[in-house]
C-alpha cells in the first residue's frame, strides 16, 4: 500500500485558517489501511479542527466525505454536488488523490492533510515499513524476495557493505541489513548460489531516471 502520515495539526490549522467552509476528503483505500486518511481519521481531524475554531470563536464548517478511491476519476466525480459549497478541499488521501481532485476541480484550492511516505507493508498493528521503491524492474527473484533497492540504505545491488554489523545497518541500528536478510533467506531456501551471481548495474530509466512514468495498456485504454 501507499503509506502516509497526518501532517502536524498546527500546519493543518494554518492551512485552512482563511477558510470558512471546507470539504474534508478521505480515501477508502491505502490511507484507510495505514490509518492516515480513512473515514475514522477524517472524523477525528474534523472533530479536532471544529473544536479548535470553536475555541477561537471563528465560524467554521466542515463537510466530511470519504471516497472509495480518490485517485480514480469515476469516484472523484461524486464530489460535483458538494464542491461549490466549499472554500477549499482538505484531502487526507495520498498525493495521487490530492492531485486527481485538483485536476478535476481546477478552480478549487486543494490542500494535502497528510504526508505521503512510501510503498510499504504492515509489520504489526500500527507499524508500517518501506518495502518497494517502484524501480520498474523487479529484482526480487534474484534476492530471495527481499528488496535491496527499498530496504538497503545504499540501494546496493551486490551487498552487503562494510557497514553491516550483526545484521543491522550502520545508518540506524533499528534498520535490518537488507543483504543480511537476503543471505539468510537464500540460505534457508538452499539457493546460496544466487548470492554468487553478480547483479549488473541497474538501468534506472525504468525508475524515475527517465522522468514521470506512465503505463498504457492498449487492450484496455479508451
Amino acid at each position: 500500500m501507499i503509506t502516509a502520515e497526518r501532517k502536524p495539526i498546527e500546519d493543518l490549522i494554518n492551512s485552512v485558517s482563511s477558510c470558512r467552509r471546507i470539504l474534508l476528503l478521505g480515501c477508502n483505500e491505502c490511507v484507510t489501511v495505514c490509518s492516515a486518511g480513512g473515514r475514522k481519521e477524517v472524523a477525528l481531524l474534523s472533530s479536532a479542527l471544529q473544536m479548535h475554531f470553536m475555541k477561537e470563536g471563528k465560524p467554521f464548517e466542515i463537510k466530511e466525505i470519504t471516497l472509495e478511491r480518490q485517485c480514480d476519476p469515476e469516484y472523484v466525480e461524486e464530489l460535483v454536488p458538494h464542491i461549490d459549497s466549499a472554500d477549499a478541499v482538505l484531502s487526507m488521501a495520498c498525493g495521487c488523490g490530492v492531485q486527481e481532485v485538483a485536476r478535476r476541480f481546477k478552480d478549487k484550492v486543494v490542500l494535502p492533510a497528510v504526508n505521503t511516505k512510501f510503498m510499504g507493508a504492515s509489520e504489526r498493528q500500527g507499524v508500517w515499513a518501506e518495502r518497494c521503491a517502484g524501480c520498474g524492474d523487479c529484482v526480487l527473484g534474484m534476492t530471495g524476495g527481499v528488496c535491496p533497492i527499498a530496504r538497503c540504505s545504499k540501494q546496493l545491488l551486490n551487498g552487503p557493505c562494510g557497514g553491516s554489523t550483526k545484521g543491522k545497518c550502520e545508518v540506524d541500528p533499528d534498520i535490518d541489513c537488507a543483504w543480511q536478510l537476503i543471505w539468510d533467506r537464500l540460505k534457508a531456501l538452499g539457493m546460496t548460489e544466487k548470492y554468487e551471481e553478480n547483479i549488473p548495474a541497474k538501468d534506472w530509466r525504468t525508475g524515475r531516471g527517465a522522468g514521470p512514468r506512465k503505463i498504457v495498456r492498449e487492450d484496455l485504454a479508451s
Binding site: P8, I9, E10, K40, S47, A48, M51, H52, M54, K55
Partner: protein, 148 residues
C-alpha cells in the same frame, strides 16, 4: 466559576469500572451527578473519536475507566485504551483545548470507593479548569451519553 457544573463523560468497562460504580451505589457512596457513565464492553472499544466527539458536543471532561493492568477480560483492551487516551491528550494540547481534560483510570469491579473517589476528584479537577473552551461560552448543547 464556583457554580460551574461540569459535564463529565466516563467510558466505563462493563467488567470493572461499571461494576465498581454499581458497587459504589450499593454502598451508598456519594459521587458527583456530573459524571455521565457510558458502559462499554471493554475500554479497548473506546476510540479516540469517542473521546473527541464527547468533548466537541459539550462535555468538559472525559475519562476512561478500565481494568487493572493485566486484568483485562479481553487481554489488552485496557492497554490499548491507555495509549489512545495519551494520543487524545496530545491532540487536545495541539488544538489548544488542553490534554488534562481526558484521563485514564484503572480499577477492579470491587473498588467502589475508588470509583467514587476518582469521579469526585476528576470532577473537581475539571471544575478548576473551567468550561471546555470549545463550547464557546454556550450552555451544554448536547449532554453526550446522558441516560445511556
Amino acid at each position: 466559576m464556583e457554580n460551574f457544573q461540569p459535564v463529565i463523560v466516563a467510558f466505563c468497562c462493563h467488567y470493572c469500572a461499571y461494576t465498581a460504580a454499581d458497587m459504589a451505589g450499593s454502598k451508598r457512596l456519594h459521587y458527583p451527578a456530573n459524571v455521565k457513565i457510558i458502559r462499554v464492553p471493554c475500554t479497548g472499544k473506546v476510540s479516540a473519536l469517542h473521546m473527541m466527539e464527547a468533548l466537541r458536543k459539550g462535555a468538559d471532561g472525559v475519562y476512561v475507566a478500565g481494568c487493572l493492568e493485566g486484568d483485562c477480560h479481553f487481554r489488552t483492551g485496557n492497554t490499548r485504551a491507555t495509549k489512545r487516551v495519551e494520543y487524545v491528550k496530545k491532540l487536545l494540547d495541539e488544538i489548544g483545548i488542553g490534554g488534562e481534560r481526558v484521563e485514564m483510570f484503572s480499577m477492579s469491579a470491587g473498588m467502589g470507593e475508588i470509583f467514587a473517589k476518582t469521579a469526585s476528584e476528576f470532577t473537581e479537577k475539571i471544575r478548576r479548569l473551567g468550561p471546555n473552551p470549545a463550547r464557546g461560552g454556550k450552555d451544554h448543547p448536547v449532554c453526550v451519553g446522558a441516560g445511556a
